[in-house]
């Protein structure tokens, strides 16, 4: 795999990783509030 491919993958992991982890914050908060309350 070339350095150019690695650059693309790094950008994507940063991009999607950030977005998905933020969406998971909301999901986690919802479950937490249901189980242990606010």
């Amino acid at each position: 795999m070339s350095r150019l491919d690695n650059a693309g993958i790094s950008i994507y992991i940063g991009f999607a990783g950030l977005v998905v982890s933020l969406a998971l914050i909301l999901v986690f908060a919802i479950f937490r509030s249901i189980i242990v309350g606010v």
Binding site: L4, D5, A7, G8, I9, I11, Y12, G14, F15, A16, L18, V19, V20, L22, A23, I25, L26, A29, I30, S33, I34, G37, V38
Partner: protein, 477 residues
């Protein structure tokens, strides 16, 4: 014999036993759609019988703060995976096929072909813009009942289209959400492709296109045996079920791959049409405008213009909204012309450069869309926690969270995360643009010359987004 993986493909998920069995299971789509429909039932009940106050009605908050905000996230990760579970098309499919999950033999549809002039993204873009415009102008989030009528309207439209036209013509040529799903899915790290092109070349039956006793012909009217992009594939897995040679793979692949395919074969096909590229460019104007109109800057601009011009707010908003899209297209056209001149090669016309480079801006469009939604999802979206305890505003307290005020992340952190996301979108678009230019010209100097006007435009748009996002937004409720 083991098949050599194509460049950019990391793993064929169909090599995993349980995943393959799941994809081949006829009940897969029905189960996912049934879950989607159950959610939809709750939204309808909440909208019709719950409190009319949007902020306290789970129908409004799930639709506009959670679903609408998460849609671009699903595309970034799973291409058009949402379409597999989409409840809108479910009743239409069941009626059309006269079957829930089994392979039926009869159809209730007239099975007409969509007229040639409609076989593009034109109608989808128009309907998406109308939905977007209605959402901004009529505060749909605050009106649970209107949200229900809008959703039921789309259900009915899907049914009518499916009963008149063949297969999933609704998904391919009408669905307003499809207008953003199709271009966004090009960036995804997931793809459905043939496993071995040679096997497909030698296949005499073409069951993926015609259907057989195990499944339906491709409902999106594409040719799964030759599929080379995510644009129309809704991952319904019918071709996985029908292929007699088990020659369909669902790959984890290099992200953004469809945007800068190696070689120009992909980009030269008619299907990557002007209409898909126009969507990307219009989104580049529409998204920051949508963000801007939720700020105080737009409020004061609107007040002075409505007073000065003597027009009402809705007319002004509509004109400005349309102008943003048109201006974005013209600016992009200008940059495409400059790029053609800079490249110094007459083999690529301005229109061709417009179509190609518009695709490279898709990551920036996604990042700005997602960044805008952080506000809805992480600031306003926290309202879902008290809503779950009292979903219809009846005064219940199911989980003890009714009336609670929850803060997930501070506005400053959300704002910084938005800047970071735009930064990633900028890098990703710049990267896609560079690879695209290298595909067009093998010489690096010429590639840089052709992409330089586009790079300046990309920097300008990203800076504009950053400025818009730095202005505090007003809440919807």
């Amino acid at each position: 014999m083991a098949v050599t993986k194509r460049a950019g493909v990391y793993k064929d998920l169909m090599e995993i036993g349980w995943f393959k069995r799941l994809m081949k299971w006829r009940g897969l789509q029905f189960t996912l759609q049934a879950i989607g429909l159950a959610f939809f039932g709750v939204i309808i009940y909440a909208g019709l019988f719950g409190t009319p106050k949007g902020i306290n009605n789970i129908g409004s908050t799930i639709t506009w703060l959670i679903w609408w905000a998460l849609i671009p996230v699903t595309m970034l990760v799973a291409a058009r995976g949402w379409c597999l579970a989409c409840p809108w098309i479910a009743p239409a499919n069941w009626l059309q096929r006269l079957a829930f999950w089994r392979k039926g033999k009869r159809t209730l549809s007239l099975n007409l072909k969509v007229p040639k002039f409609m076989r593009n993204f034109g109608l989808m873009l128009v309907l998406f813009l109308i939905l977007h415009w209605a959402n901004s102008n009529f505060d749909l989030a605050e009106r649970p009942e209107t949200t229900v009528y809008l959703a039921l309207g789309l259900f009915s439209l899907a049914i009518v289209v499916s009963l008149v036209f063949e297969k999933n013509s609704f998904c391919r040529y009408v669905c307003p959400v499809g207008a953003i799903i199709a271009p966004y899915s090009l960036s995804a790290p997931i793809e459905l492709r043939n496993k071995d092109a040679e096997v497909c070349r030698n296949c005499k039956t073409r069951d993926c296109v015609k259907g057989n006793e195990r499944g339906y012909a491709c409902p999106m009217m594409i040719f799964p045996y030759a599929i080379d992009r995510n644009t129309h594939c809704i991952l319904c897995t019918e071709c996985v079920k029908t292929c007699p040679n088990d020659n369909i793979s669902i790959n984890i692949r290099r992200p953004f791959l469809d945007i800068f395919k190696e070689g120009l074969g992909f980009l030269r096909t008619r299907d990557v049409s002007l209409s898909l590229s126009v969507i990307s460019v219009v989104l580049l104007g529409a998204i920051p405008f949508h963000n801007l109109e939720m700020t105080s800057v737009y409020g004061s601009l609107s007040a002075s213009l409505t007073g000065g011009l003597g027009v009402n707010e809705t007319v002004l908003q509509t004109v400005l909204f349309l102008m943003t899209g048109v201006i974005a297209v013209f600016i992009f056209l200008g940059c495409s012309w400059l790029a053609r001149r800079g490249g110094g090669d007459s083999q690529y016309g301005t229109k061709r450069i417009f179509i190609w480079f518009a695709l490279a801006f898709i990551p920036l469009a996604i990042s700005s869309h997602v960044a805008h939604n952080y506000f809805h999802l992480l600031e306003e979206g926290a309202i879902i926690i008290p809503n779950l305890s009292d979903p219809f505003g009846f005064g219940w307290n199911l989980f003890g969270t009714a009336g609670a005020s929850v803060t997930l992340l501070s506005p400053t952190i959300i704002n910084n995360l938005q800047f970071l996301t735009i930064g990633f979108g900028f890098l990703a678009s710049g990267y896609a643009m560079y690879r695209l230019s290298l595909n067009m010209f093998s010489r690096q100097g010429q590639a840089f010359r052709i992409m330089s006007p586009m790079l300046i435009l990309l920097t300008g748009i990203a800076s504009f987004y950053i400025w818009v996002l730095s202005i505090p937004m007003n809440t919807r409720f």
